[in-house]
Subunit: 279 residues, 2 copies
């Protein structure tokens, strides 16, 4: 595996992949088995695999955890070597966002609800960095985890609108044995919080089961699921929604494919999770 620290170097490489297919996994590092499932799939489907490790300041709000976000590049590097990755691309912030940087990208509609509502500007930062990374890496396919289901749909919309020629692939959520979705932020949890954390997935699963049983009233299902989260006083629900899988607009009556999606604060740590349900 070759480690690339400069944008210009990566551009030089991507200029000519000699007709080979390139699978790309953009990450913020602190890699876990969720990331590695993307890398493994990229490895399976492509001749060349590029993984970026870049903690993107543009997608953090002013009061969010940018500086605290876990950075462990040496460990990440070893993990990616173990997956037989060809290039780890880990640029400097000052190269990605030079002083006179002044371009922004916004995707509307899909960003109105869920995390988009509660993290203003977050998805602008995500689409900006992925747009740049796609131009720098020029992948054939790019891999994202379903844990960030809204992120995937927003990015897909950007790729489609801007005619970027990248195949977008969404991979299933990887979970701990007790159901907690893997996330780099799980390491913020105290042992006590870690014990409580699986309730998030249990509440989502409760809603999914109710939908599968044929119930249609989103409001009642949401209330019942949120009551389950209520058993731990240190959990604050940011949102618990049942939204249309395509538009991400909350539904009142469940008549087509939906996403049950939730965000909670467990102490100071924000956790998200979701499941997609075919009706």
């Amino acid at each position: 595996m070759k480690t690339i620290n400069h944008v210009s170097e990566m551009i030089e490489i991507s200029k000519d992949y000699g007709g080979k297919s390139v699978g790309f996994v953009p990450t913020m590092g602190a890699l876990h088995a969720g990331h590695l499932s993307l890398v493994k799939e990229a490895r399976k489907q492509n001749d060349i695999v590029v993984v970026s490790v870049f903690v993107n300041p543009a997608q953090f709000g002013p009061r969010e955890d940018f500086s605290a976000y876990p950075r462990m590049i040496d460990k990440d590097q070893k993990l990616l070597e173990g997956e037989n990755v060809d290039y780890m691309f880990s640029p400097e912030t000052s190269e990605m966002y030079p002083k006179d940087f002044s371009t922004s990208i916004h995707v509307g509609n899909l960003t109105d609800y869920l995390c988009g509502y509660y993290r203003p500007g977050h998805f602008d930062g995500v689409v900006l960095v992925v747009n740049k990374l796609f131009n720098i890496v020029k992948p054939t396919r790019a891999y994202f985890g379903q844990k960030d289901a809204q992120q995937f749909r927003v990015l897909k919309s950007m790729v489609c609108d801007l005619n970027m020629n990248v195949e977008m692939i969404e991979m299933p959520i990887v979970r701990e044995a007790d159901g907690l979705a893997l996330s780099s932020r799980n390491m913020y949890l105290s042992p006590e919080e870690r014990k409580e954390a699986p309730i998030l997935h249990l509440a989502i699963k409760y809603a999914v089961d109710q939908i599968k049983l044929g119930r249609k009233d989103a409001y009642k299902i949401k209330r019942e699921a949120m009551n389950k989260l209520g058993i731990y006083p240190d959990i604050k629900i940011q949102y618990f929604e049942i939204v249309d899988e395509k538009t991400l607009v909350p539904v009142s009556k469940i008549t087509s494919k939906v996403i049950v999606a939730a965000a909670i604060f467990l102490g100071k740590t924000r956790l998200i999770d979701n499941e997609i349900v075919n009706v």
Copy 2:
């Protein structure tokens, strides 16, 4: 020359140019000798030449001349054939902006003054369509006229910020014998207005000559130049500015490379012009 009317068809072509260089000239059609100077340069410097003809609704304000903008695709086609162009790309609006389109791009700073101030949203529309066209056509080099000096600098900033791998080339303004800068909008002018129109360039040239004489006081030079435009009562000055060539910020003291840029209304027709002066 092949005429391409579908985005998917152009994407198919741009997937593999066989290692050949591609010169691209994005236009809104109604081609004149200004456009053709770009096409000729593209022809000289590249193996393949692509010219797009697309009147981009996204760059017109609600009260601007989108529907009135001249369309003469058959004449354009013949002119481009005469220049030995390889592909004329002329997509439908509904393909460029499908119903659920929701992405926008904004370049800050450079759009604060000049046309950017007076045409809010205009440059958002320009960078959006050029971003899409670059992704669709995948050119090696792209050619723009200096008449739209602000547009060129805004686009260059977008290309740099988003790591788009396109060489941006600015070509000199082509003028009528009496100095009027060529523009598709000149055909809106009545015979009377056409006679008055060269005063725009004369006023700019007056300012340029004063700067070349070593005068530094931008305010006084601007006032004197604007007085020259005052001799025709049906001319309304939108702006007459002397701005830094890089930042496009108006200068009070002329100490480095500047652009003398102006926009006027002559009757209902908006005309722009500029000159770049090395100090």
